[in-house]
Symmetry: C2
């Protein structure tokens, strides 16, 4: 995919830099790692530092010192997190039987848009299709996303249908509001777990938008893969397809196999900050989710690198024992080194997958990784 800030090889991980920084890393680190594109979050950047400041610096990329392609989301997921997601105690995936997570909403949805309380200071704000697009134009990313309403995975068919209809009206208003010609505009598909709604949504977005983002919170991994199939099979194969907020290592194989071009995910960075580091097969497998907990005492004396076959600068220079110490001592360097490794690990895996597709042996690599 060509953008004003360079080519994005696909499939590609969109690395999440929520507040205009990939936590603990510099743009130079991202270059070394081979990162292809960085995403900033519209909700967070709107609240702090504000899109007007980012615009004054020449947009998100220039503000953060990253010369490559950038993407912003619509803010829809974050206002969902403050609303029905709180009320139902759910996140990106349904958590079964966990009513204890339920809390009062901090948002209110009307036809016009969503009013919500800032997670920073409780102050009141509003996002509408028009304001989401205005913010995203000022942030100036290469790829942007239309404003959407997220259904809860606990919603009924009727509720989901109603939410989808609202999303579609908001998407058309988003498109109407969008003036910049140098940004690729993604419509977002919704419809929850329901096949007919997902197909209707895919056709609607395909008809009206140059690029397709797959949205929503999901019932299960299985249902998410079905959703991808229903969407891909009912839209233009040449249109770029972005999967929002996914995935784990096994997801990567499964979503790429189904036709996803790009996907954004906090997993490598967030896991890194909590002391979970990725390891390749045979040590890593679907059962341990390709990760070890570096804080476990069994690593305190280990001179092994984080991953035995990784060529990143962390694995070349540091031991599991040292990382174990850094995490136990809550040292800043811990988060940086684990984040660097995890991103390098995932970017390299996706690079390997890209080559495997060109060489026709994707299924072989998938089997090597996913079948223990």
């Amino acid at each position: 995919m060509a953008t004003p800030h360079g080519i994005i090889q696909t499939p590609q991980l969109v690395v999440v830099g929520t507040q205009g920084t990939v936590k603990s890393l510099t743009p130079k680190d991202l270059e070394e790692i081979g990162v292809g594109i960085v995403m900033g979050n519209t909700y967070h950047l709107h609240l702090r530092p504000g899109e007007d400041i980012v615009e004054k610096f020449g947009g998100l990329g220039k503000f953060m010192g990253w010369g490559g392609p950038t993407m912003t989301d619509s803010g829809g997921f974050q206002v969902f997190s403050l609303g029905v997601a709180l009320e139902h105690g759910v996140g990106k995936f349904l958590k079964e039987n966990d009513e204890t997570l339920a809390k009062p909403r901090l948002n209110k949805i009307t036809e016009e848009g969503v009013t919500f309380q800032s997670h920073l200071d409780g102050s009141k704000h509003k996002l509408t299709p028009e304001s989401s697009i205005s913010i995203q134009e000022k942030l100036g990313a290469d790829l942007i996303v239309g404003f959407d309403d997220l259904e809860s995975p606990k919603h009924s068919y009727e509720e989901t249908k109603k939410s989808l209809a609202l999303t579609n009206r908001w998407l058309l208003r988003s498109l109407q509001a969008h003036k910049r010609k140098d940004q690729l505009f993604y419509g977002v598909t919704h419809g929850g777990k329901f096949k007919d709604l997902r197909i209707e949504s895919a056709k609607f977005v395909d008809k009206n938008f140059p690029a397709i983002a797959l949205g929503g919170a999901h019932q299960s991994k299985k249902n998410m893969y079905d959703v991808i199939d229903w969407t891909v099979q009912n839209s233009d194969p040449l249109k770029p397809k972005h999967m929002l907020g996914v995935g784990e290592i096994d997801d990567i194989f499964n979503i790429i196999e189904r036709g996803i071009d790009t996907f954004d995910c906090v997993i490598p960075t967030r896991l890194g900050r909590t002391g979970f580091v990725f390891v390749q097969p045979p040590e890593g497998n679907v059962l341990n989710r390709f990760r070890i907990d570096i804080q476990k005492s069994k690593w305190a004396n280990s001179k092994l690198p984080l991953d035995k076959n990784c060529s990143c600068s962390v694995c070349q220079n540091f031991t599991r024992g040292y990382l174990n110490h850094l995490f136990r001592a809550r040292e800043l360097l811990a988060y940086r080194l684990a984040t660097y490794h995890n991103l390098y690990f995932m970017v390299s895996l996706i690079k390997k997958i890209r080559s495997s597709i060109l060489e026709g042996n994707f299924m072989k690599i998938k089997k090597n990784w996913l079948i223990p």
Copy 2:
């Protein structure tokens, strides 16, 4: 100064890496910055991860991945911080009229050594001259320090004299316990603010030890400079002299001028983590202590680098506005970038001072920096 891990150019900053890491930075960063030597703290490394683990990795340098020279302190200052420093509400410098800081001691001093409660979990530990040296031998730094008792700056002449006598007995026991031949052993001078005690201490350490560390908490900057003069004038000019736990930018000029070769200080790193970044004259001066508070709202829109004349990678690639945002958002990258800049700034200043000494224009540079 030649060490088993390379030459230390003097005067030189000993960069503090308390827990076996210079907070947020990698050894490669330290090399880029031009750091000459790193200090680990005996007290902290003893408690976590423990000297036995560090020894298994080949010592402090290998454990943290730093190939250059290293130093450890005696642990004396930390047990002082848990003892009379708490009781008197004082730190490295006397705080006048601040009785509110006074708290109960967490240590107990006997002829044998100091028992204390860990700041981590309240568990009981003991440090003696013999155990401090045993720990420092296992940590394996190139420069080590004999175990000392710290007087409070509020202590009377008699109390200070008694503390100095204990320090001297502990220093001789420390030397007696030291078996490794590849570590340079620093005796520590004490005697508080009192000229005759400081002279007695300087002569004692000079007579018994190959290198001299100037210790203790200080009454004032003026008194600290006097202490240096009394010590330097009463000891072998060829013996290396290390100033423990100092200094600010103005101190650097003043202590180097008086004959100090090396000094360790947390100021550049700690200030960096709290959002204070160093700036050169004319923006920086003795009145603003050569620093700006990057969190102030006036920097939110600034496209200036942190320091206008700095050639570090942070100043080449990032703006004050971006750093302002990172600090306000409490992003990990904030601490890393400010730490990097502050260390680069101080290391570069000291390099400039080294050249100025060789070229005979030290006083000119001192005047340029210290006279507004």
